[in-house]
Amino acid sequence: MPEALSAAQPASFQAKSRRLTRGEALVGLMLNLPAGIAYFLMLLLPSLATILLAFTDYELGALEWGWIGIANFEEMLEDRGFAIALRNTVIYVGLVTPLSILLGLGAALLIEAGMRGRALFRAVFFLPVVSLTVAMAAAWQYLLHPTIGPLNAFLRLLGVTSPPFWLSSSDWVLLSLGAIGVWENVGYNMVLFLAGLSAIPRELYQAAEVDGTKTWLDRFRLVTWPMLGPTTLFVLTITMIRSIRVFDTVAVLTQGGPNKASEVLLHTMYKEGFTFLRLGYSAAITLVFLLMVLGLVWLQTKALDKRVHYG
């Protein structure tokens, strides 16, 4: 009986179950080596180094350093600057994510419904995504300048006697940065939503019409919104990750000021690491940041993925 079984097995299966000769194993290993080295050097090693650094008091250029366990994380809990940065980052994400998703969806729906000028509007909304944020920040600095900026000139024209100092008032700075963040993200989200919209079968809209939907809102709720589910989940995830990483506008426009009112996580990490040269502490912040991002992604895929993929 065993003979009959092995005879029935296809030739490829037999070849696979055969032990590799030593030469073959060596060749296989050699062929894997370049990719393995690149993977180790570029992905694994830096991550590992960051994790290790987070538990040291290493300072850039220092000759000696020591293991300090979780002292960096303990310091973080006490650190008022870190708490402010964390709070500001959460506010920034909470501001930019819903606004840029809603506006992106709105723009996509309008462009999709429009007859003419689709390519033009797509390009216009997508422009901030392809332009360099640091360069565009200079333009924003001019636009939002308290005295010579066009925005305040316009407000004064409307009769506002003392328009806000957008980037230098601690009440307004986070809102201003948030607005720039929305401006940056809307185009990206819009393009994703456009792709999602074009994948909805036309037949569903026709069925909805025959089934008695009378208004645009009916069709949106019956077809568009549920069918966009997977797209929306992806856009939500990507927008949160993009906005939690906010750095360049802060670094160029406010450096976290005034009085830490626009201090955010990545900027704190950058300052600790490259201004105060405290690489150990900076690595600890990075680790916390990474865990936050991973947590968000995990939560979204676990909690929402089941609800947006049907069948």
Partner: protein, 380 residues
């Protein structure tokens, strides 16, 4: 109650005439199949009836209402789509309930949170649930009510689409190639079920298909469409045996009807390849069309050459070539008949009553043979 009445509908796409002055009536309770090759405009016509697409000219009434200017939602028609068009995020029962919810509940009542506190809503929802259950039961879907369409087989999805269509007792029932995505065995079975449902529901039904066997087996009347025009509307028997246009004759029937060029002289004698055939018609060139089952081998007839055979089980197809005109001919024979060899010279004949004559424009012309002399052919 009136059924469905299409009057002089035209539709152009740019320079292309998709529909050219099309008129068609479907009586209440009648099942009309609209059949034609792809691109003939049959789907466009159905979508205009549904209200998904608009006509350039013409009018439309459904159940004694003029609906030409009404939107799809207000026409009270139900439609089954080729790909079923079920809402993938809703369960089977929610899918079936959509047309009822859209009609019986106000916008506020349908809103997820507000709805809960509206007075009388619970009763309305319960009534909808009962109707949904009835429709589902009549299609054997009771066990699947909580599934999503993605978890169903093609045949089950098709039933859900049917249930969604019948649940609200529409004035007209439209079906756009509903069987084309099913496998062959299921298609034949579902064919009968759809006819059964139609009997029960009793609404005027317009059924679009490119498959002539569906049209012939299911419909009370068949409308054959080509190039944006309806060529003939008749019972399946009349469409097959009594086509009024050569395009109908060639489209319906498989294998295709045989065409033999001929000419009627001034006295009305029809000649095939210069020899009198014994048929009589008005003078001028004609085409004689004969179904494969009406041609037979004979000791004297039209000289042909046998080409080969196709064995179909219940019959045998003999492929032959008409020597005089070089037209390919197909003859349906009984399978146990003696078969001529390929390349052998044979003679084919037919009875006068089976000959369909068409003029140069493809219109049917009357055969002037006296019925009593139907056998008097002189094909040899």
């Amino acid at each position: 109650m009136q059924g469905l009445s299409i009057k002089s509908i035209s539709r152009h796409f740019g320079a292309v005439r998709a529909l050219d002055n099309v008129s068609l009536d479907v009586a209440a309770g009648e099942f009309v199949a609209l059949v034609g090759p792809s691109g003939c405009g049959k789907s466009t016509l159905m979508r205009i009836v549904a209200g998904i697409e608009t006509a350039d000219a013409g009018s439309l009434s459904i159940g004694s209402r003029d609906v030409t200017a009404l939107r799809a939602a207000e026409r009270n028609v139900a439609m089954v789509f080729q790909n079923y068009a079920l809402y993938p995020h809703l369960t089977v029962s929610e899918n079936i309930a959509v047309p009822l919810a859209m009609r019986r509940l106000s916008a506020v009542e349908r809103f997820p949170l507000f709805g809960r506190v509206m007075p009388g809503l619970a009763q309305k929802r319960a009534a909808i649930a009962i109707d949904v259950l009835k429709a589902a039961q009549s299609l054997g879907l009771d066990a699947l009510l909580d599934r999503k369409p993605g978890q169903l087989s093609g045949g089950q999805r098709q039933r859900v689409a049917l249930a969604r269509a019948i649940v609200r007792h529409p004035d007209a029932f439209l079906m756009d190639e509903p069987l084309s995505n099913l496998d062959a065995a299921l298609r034949v079975q579902t064919r009968r079920e759809i006819v059964e449902i139609h009997r029960r529901v009793g609404a005027a039904t317009l059924y679009v298909t490119h498959d002539q066997s569906e049209a012939l087996t299911m419909a009370d009347r068949v409308a054959v469409m080509q190039a944006g025009q309806i060529l003939q509307v008749s019972s399946p028997e009349a469409i097959y045996h009594d086509p009024q246009d050569i395009r109908v004759a060639t489209f319906i029937g498989s294998p295709r009807i045989n065409l033999i060029p001929a000419e009627a002289d001034a006295a009305g004698h029809v000649h095939i390849a210069g020899r009198p055939s014994g048929l009589h018609a008005a003078p001028g060139p004609v085409t004689i069309a004969i179904r494969p089952e009406n041609l037979r081998l004979a000791s004297s007839g039209m000289p042909c050459v046998a080409d080969g055979f196709e064995f179909l089980g219940e019959s045998l197809l003999l492929h032959a070539r008409h020597t005089a005109s070089d037209e390919a001919l197909v003859v349906r024979l009984l399978p146990d008949m003696p078969r001529p060899h390929a390349g052998e010279a044979i003679q084919l004949t037919f009875e006068a009553k089976h000959a369909l004559l068409f003029d140069q424009n493809g219109k049917r012309v009357a055969l002037r043979n006296h019925p009593a002399h139907s056998q008097e052919l002189t094909l040899a």
